[in-house]
Amino acid sequence: MVKLVYFAWVRERMGMAEEMVELPASVQTIADLALWLAGRDEGAALAFANPDVVRAAIDKHHVSPQTSVQGAREIAFFPPMTGG
């Protein structure tokens, strides 16, 4: 089981702030996971409609779409940051 957390408009479109999921074997990378989530429902499809825009973090470190999800405890998806 891995914890997924969502922020800002990704959270709003997913309709939840976090969830626990069992990843299928086909999900190897962040990009795989985004694609898999996008296929779940309409909100998720909208959240990942433009996968290049969504950013990800594994265990609170920024990662690229090609990063492996193996061993991850917490995976976050969010829009580009607008702090500062």
Partner: protein, 162 residues
């Protein structure tokens, strides 16, 4: 905190407002080796009356970690005697402070560059997101990231390669 060669630092991600002078004093007070202190304060603008507030969402835990990593990098690049970053979350009204960066060094160029670098990196790396609350009561939207902010952050990579 005050030994030679050690950088005094203060990092905080918080909802509460804070006092500029107190933060500068905390970092630099009582020292006689600092030649230059630069502060950057980022404030909420009312956009000519259109905005009633900004709501800042953040990723608890990662926000503190990422700010710390950005501060680590600034310390590696410039000889800093003190560095502070405070970033607020929650509802912030026009005229209120969102972020404070303080850098102290023996010389002014290091203090200026490090403060500018910290802001550019915080903008593009620290996990905070701004939602606008319009003054007319409509629902508002998420502030979009600016391509210019990415370019501003990238120039520090270019500078490193030179």
């Amino acid at each position: 905190m005050r030994e030679a060669g050690r950088t005094t630092r203060h990092i905080s991600v918080q909802a509460a407002p804070f006092d500029l002078a107190a933060e500068v004093e905390k970092l630099t007070g009582g020292r006689t080796d600092i030649g230059a202190v630069v502060t950057f304060t980022g404030l909420c603008r009312d956009e000519a009356g259109l905005l009633s507030a900004l709501e800042l969402e953040h990723y608890p835990g990662m926000a503190e970690d990422e700010v710390t990593r950005v501060v680590d990098e600034a310390e590696q690049r410039w000889p800093l005697q003190a560095v502070g970053v405070i970033h607020r979350f929650g509802v912030i009204r026009p005229g209120e402070v969102i972020v404070l960066v303080v850098t102290a060094s023996a010389h002014r160029v290091a203090a200026f560059e490090a403060a500018s670098f910290l802001m550019d990196y915080l903008k593009t790396r620290a996990p905070f997101w701004k939602k606008e609350h319009p003054a007319d009561g409509s629902s508002g939207g998420w502030v979009e990231a600016k391509a210019l902010d990415d370019l501003a952050a990238e120039r520090w990579s270019a500078a490193k390669r030179d």
